[in-house]
């Protein structure tokens, strides 16, 4: 009969995996954002820890949580870029007007259009912000503009 591996006290689990978790998060997010993500990873692990059935594969488990936190962090960062805060100026900035116009687009197209025509960024800069290539950014912006034209015309 196999006996299941007991769940170690969280302190021991944390001490064993914290260095590797930080290393993985730094690689994915850079040093600054890795710190918040590190805390979030172990808080998520702590929330779920009392519901674990056994102590097997804890390394894989916590690295999966870290990966999910990294994905969420990147998504949040992009969303901030995609959807700038409403301007408080009387003269409505270009990106603000674009936020209505682009409301029906997919996230990638919308971001490309807003960054290109609202913020006047180059396709190289947009590609970097969206973690994609300049060609893909150009493609997304042009598809977005075509959709907007079609909708306005209809």
């Amino acid at each position: 009969m196999m006996r299941s591996v007991p769940i170690p006290p969280f302190e021991l689990f944390y001490e064993e995996h914290r260095s590797e978790v930080l290393r993985v998060l730094r690689r994915k997010l850079g040093a600054d954002r890795a710190e918040d993500a590190f805390q979030e990873t172990f808080l998520r692990a702590l929330r779920a820890y009392g519901r674990l059935d056994h102590g097997e594969h804890l390394r894989a488990w916590v690295l999966t949580i870290a990966k999910n936190v990294a994905v969420d962090t990147l998504r949040r960062t992009r969303a901030t870029t995609e959807l700038p805060e409403q301007g408080v100026d009387d003269s409505r900035p270009a990106y603000d007007e674009l936020s209505d116009l682009t409301a029906g687009l997919g996230p990638k197209e919308r971001a490309a259009v807003v960054l290109r025509y609202g913020y006047d960024l180059s396709y190289d800069e947009i590609a970097a912000a969206l973690d994609s290539s300049p060609d893909a950014a150009r493609q997304a912006a042009s598809t977005g503009v075509r959709r907007i034209r079609r909708r306005i015309a209809s």
């Binding site: 170690p8 006290p9 969280f10 021991l12 944390y14 260095s19 590190f38 172990f42 702590l46």
Partner: protein, 184 residues
């Protein structure tokens, strides 16, 4: 990749503040050496003279596996212990977590808590007070396994001849505590 002390303590602080721990513990310095003090949401759960991390399993068995070192969790206990060791406190106001202890043990510990600062009693006398005059040996076992020494003052219990007999933390510590309280 070393986790910086600042990042490490930020996490520990957040975990305790968010109420995610079954047990928070920390090491408290004292005249009788380092004490590992642990609290749960039911109160003070353990004071240990043994700083071996393997003993964390014991804390997990008391309250659950989410055991984490977190200075914040023991702030209150640390303050009362500091005051006690400085001679400024004779009774503790801490709530105690006595979960999962047998009824007899709890009865004996409650009686033990009534033994005043600076006085001593004997195992036999304590057994009489809980209504089991022949259970001096069982009372001794309860003292020996006392999870919360100092606060539950098993150091105030001595042999019928006045000899120190035993102490889970060692006789030196027992003697130091009794001298601190002016009982020796």
């Amino acid at each position: 990749m070393t986790v910086s002390p600042a990042l490490d303590s930020r996490f520990r602080h957040a975990a305790a503040t968010l109420g995610l721990l079954d047990v928070g513990y920390d090491v408290v310095e004292s005249p009788i050496g380092e004490l590992v003090v642990a609290t749960s949401d039911h109160g003070l759960a353990s004071i240990s003279f043994d700083t071996d991390p393997k003993r964390l399993d014991r804390l997990a068995r008391i309250a659950g596996p989410r055991v984490l070192r977190s200075p914040r969790s023991v702030d209150l206990a640390r303050r009362e212990l500091d005051e006690y060791f400085e001679g400024r406190r004779q009774t503790f106001d801490l709530t105690l977590d006595l979960r999962a202890l047998p009824g007899f043990t709890i009865t004996v510990l409650e009686e033990l808590a009534r033994v005043p600062y600076g006085e001593t009693t004997t195992y036999g006398e304590l057994a009489r007070r809980v209504g089991h005059p022949r259970a001096a040996r069982a009372v001794g076992t309860v003292m020996n396994r006392n999870r919360i020494p100092i606060v539950l003052p098993c150091h105030r219990v001595v042999g019928s001849t006045g000899s120190l007999t035993g102490y889970a933390g060692g006789l030196d510590r027992k003697l130091t505590l009794l001298e601190l309280e002016g009982a020796r």
